[in-house]
Amino acid sequence: MKIRKIILIIFGWLISISAIAAPPDTLVVKVMGTSDDARFEPVIIQVQPGDVIRFEVVEGLHTVTAYHPDNRRPLRIPNSASSFDSGMLNAGDRWSLLIEEQGVFDYFCLPHEKLGHAGRIISGTEYITPNYEDTLLPRAVLKTIKKAQENF
């Protein structure tokens, strides 16, 4: 009887700990294609602040690079967010990104940017729609994001 009581107490304690220290959701974006067909799947992903996105490279050579002046590109992530760049990723590689802020994060693949290989992360529900300057991006990138946004 006493042992049962102890078991219940320990499980109750573990459940409460797990509620506090629950890991964030991990969402997966597949990185596909090798040239004209290079793409992120899905192109647009919705997350909550604190979630982790794991990029899994299925084929080809790619990067996951923020539109940010640190990467010699116009700013298209929230002002308060840090820039990110995965560096070169090959087939089989995985790279995880923690999203902490609310807002819209646009990113691209360095080798295939001109072919429209780009993606968007929408974090949270209370974000303000950004007024990013579209004229600074390659047309193919805008086309990818616009098409995905229409179907989102």
Partner: protein
Amino acid sequence: MKKLIILSMFLMGMFSQNAMTQHADHTNHQQEALKAGGIHPDHSLYHLDAVFTDHRNETFQLEDFRDEPVIVVMFYGNCTEVCPILIRDTWRLYGALDEALQQKTTVLAISFDTENDTPEVLKDYAEYEQLDLPKWHFVTAQHTNIRMLATMLGVKYQQTSDGHFAHSNLITVLDTNGNITKRVEGLNQPMEEAAQIIEGMVKNL
């Protein structure tokens, strides 16, 4: 009781694994590329008597850069594989220098696509890459001169049937006399040593 304690510790260990951040899980492999060829380190590139044109439509000879460190990379603008990374790596090396050193170091990004990469095209490229900087030159020339320079650098390149190029991935540092003093082959390589060499060169000027 003992089993309970072990079970508790095991579960606690599982629950505590929630510290995730930007994290890479990948092997250190490289895109297939033509391996760089051999060089004659005592043979100055300034012996090459060829005229080059940059993205500002200014002409020059390599010897014009005598007495300063020069970073050289060969690429082509239509590349949708490794060249953007190669250019980024060159920028990483340049960015590893402090501002005073940057002002004394020239970067030559030389295209082997002499057909498509005109000075105008290279200007667009430089502007989009936010590398239209005073010490950066995106360069073209007659094909024979590009081939000669590539041979001296040990850069191999070959046009493929689809109009792209297979090529070596190589960043080269020239000393103040135009001799090759450091080669960084491959992508995403550490640049600290090359940056230190440039720093040492400038100190000795």
